[in-house]
Amino acid sequence: MTITESKKEKDLGFFVRNQSIVVPIVAIFVAFVLGGILISLQGVNPLVAYRAIFSEAWFDSDGLLRTFQKTTPLVLAGLAVTVALRIGLFNIGAQGQLISAALASALAGIYITNLPPILHVIVSLVCGVVVGALWAAIAGLLKAYRGVHEVISTIMLNSIAVGILDYLVSNPFREPDQSLQRTKKIAESAILPNFGVIPFGFILAILVCLLVSWMLNRTTAGFRFNTVGKNKFAASYAGINMKLMIVTGMLLSGGLAGLGGAIETLGITYRFEPAFNSGLGFDGITIALLARSNPLATIPAAILVGTLRAGGASLQFNTGIEPEIVDVLLAITLLLVSAPILAKFLFKGKAQKTANVTSGWGS
């Protein structure tokens, strides 16, 4: 073997070792190329369209604030899915947990009065977290005690949440004399402030991310989570209470999604309106799979999705391309990071296995 060949091997080794970073980046690149083809089929130069997205999202102070605002709930939604994946639960219901929490914290922000500002914010946030956690706990309890698969129960709970919230904002809690179905604005004392272009909620989301990462990697509780996720039977044999773990996992996951909804209400929208948070929970799935269930990696993944969502809104105005192109870009990325095809193509036999959550209907 010549020197150049062994050096080449070494360079490749770096990529093989870090394929959990390399694969998503290549996937995003491929998605942008394919998306670019779709855009040019509609008679628009894809480079112009992509520049419109990114200049709108990053190189404009209003846009930058909007990007961070979009990113904030996405970090937490992605984290919610990630935490559940770590113990082998696939929480498709971040959406339902997030929106019910968004309404709960809006109600706390409107109807609880006479509280000093900081306390009011905390109380409203807690209301959201608790409601999100409880909504997810229904799926956890059904899974632990009745064996109902969480993918189906959380999807059903999403639809149920949408229906109940639709009723609540169209009747008892509707803003008077408004054609839109939405609640009143929350009180000044419940508002989460912005620091320039950085919303306070974003800082909070990053802190929670660090906390969850520490919890999963450095504490006994995290060790239990990972053991259950790696091998249920071994965990059960080692004396870990599986039922308790499932319910705790869903509570934690739902609480995180709920925090995302609460921050969005208190720091961004200042009221609850059903159209505000559609699709956040599903972006959370994309983010979690893009981040390969690594809590810290949800931050860059969420920033990417937040950028596309913030910039995509202006796309139609500037180029006539429908903002749904973002859905296509994310779908292709998701496909490439979750299916092993890209990793196998890049690394052949050295490809790592992707996430695994399958459990039967009865367990």
């Binding site: 059903m156 859905d327 296509v328 994310l330 992707t354 996430a355």
Partner: protein
């Protein structure tokens, strides 16, 4: 025939009981009963077809959470296929072929690549939602309506005739499809092979059955039924396409599959139960017998799914190898 009756005793008794009750109501109030049954069967058709997709997949060992997305893509392709070709029949074929394509997609991802089956299905759903909402174009209408066909003699039976035997092509074929899937699964060589692959793949492998090929084929062909379900929604039930048209029916179908104990006839009974309860609730609401907000009436199928699942799971046994990729040893 006798085998069929003794094998499906429970489902047939349920169906018989429902029929008798339906006739009692029919003599009390002809118009309302007919309209409830028509609504109920229309609601049940896509659920039954989608449940067949789940049953064929899981009986051969592949969990299909992506039925929702497969249906959505087929509904989309069926509708816009009709619009651009100007023929509803070509649209039907395009819809069904799209279903097959989506089936093949899951087959390759879950069986060939051994991707996690649940994640593969969820990815199919998200991809389908993304693609159909990007390519969706507003303001298109179907070139023609789905023709209504009456089967001679059968369609003259009071009540049952107009409900089951005077319908669009998809709704008309559904009963036959269910009986055919039931027969194929339990009475043919293909069915025996499929079930052995879903119960005990290594034994099937030892007996010389190509596990991967059986699974790939079944999941792909089951996609055709998801195509029927989707095309039914767009071409026959709604007569149009809208973003998110399937509205969770693919997941309701999985609940129906479990409730029906992975049995085509059982799934038919379960889907009728869902359809009729929804129809009765809407009728009571329309007659102002009960007065609950419309939003809550719409939630009924979802709440029922949770209740039904929490009762049924554990009492019925899923195919033993459902959800487990099979890797040939050695």
């Amino acid at each position: 025939m006798l085998d069929f009756i003794s094998d499906n005793k429970k489902s047939l008794i349920t169906l018989g009981l429902v029929t008798v009750i339906a006739y009692v109501f029919y003599f009390l109030d002809e118009i309302r009963t007919t309209s409830v049954l028509v609504f109920g069967w229309g609601y049940a058709v896509p659920l039954v077809l989608a449940a067949m997709v789940g049953i064929i997949g899981e009986r051969s060992g592949v969990v299909n959470i992506g039925i929702e997305g497969q249906m959505l893509m087929s509904a989309f392709a069926g509708f816009f296929g009709s619009v651009f070709t100007g023929s509803i029949y070509l649209g039907m074929i395009i819809g069904i072929l799209t279903g097959v394509l989506m089936g093949a997609f899951l087959a390759v991802a879950a069986v060939k690549w051994e991707m996690d089956q649940i994640i593969a299905g969820v990815v199919i759903n998200i991809v389908a939602a993304g693609l159909t909402s990007f390519f969706y174009a507003q303001g298109k209408t179907l070139p023609e309506l789905m023709p209504v066909v009456s089967i001679p003699l059968l369609s003259d039976i009071p009540l049952i005739g107009p409900v089951f035997f005077r319908n669009g092509l998809f709704a008309l074929s559904t009963l036959f499809i269910v009986v055919a899937v039931n027969y194929a699964l339990f009475k043919t060589r293909w069915g025996l092979r499929s079930r052995s692959v879903g119960e005990y793949p290594s034994a099937a492998d030892a007996a010389g059955i190509n596990v991967t090929r059986v699974r790939m084929m079944n999941v792909t062909l089951a996609g055709a039924l998801a195509g029927c379900a989707g095309a039914f929604l767009a071409l026959e039930a709604a007569g149009t396409f809208a973003r998110g048209l399937t509205a969770g029916r693919g997941f309701l179908a999985l609940a129906i599959m479990i409730f029906g104990a992975w049995n085509p006839m059982g799934a038919l009974a379960a889907a009728l139960f869902f359809g009729l309860s929804t129809a009765i609730a809407s009728q009571l609401q329309a007659d102002e017998v009960i007065n609950i907000p419309q939003q809550f009436v719409n939630l009924l199928p979802f709440v029922m799914t949770l209740i039904v699942l929490s009762i049924a799971v554990g009492r019925v046994r899923p195919p033993a190898a459902a959800g487990q990729p099979y890797t040939k040893e050695g």
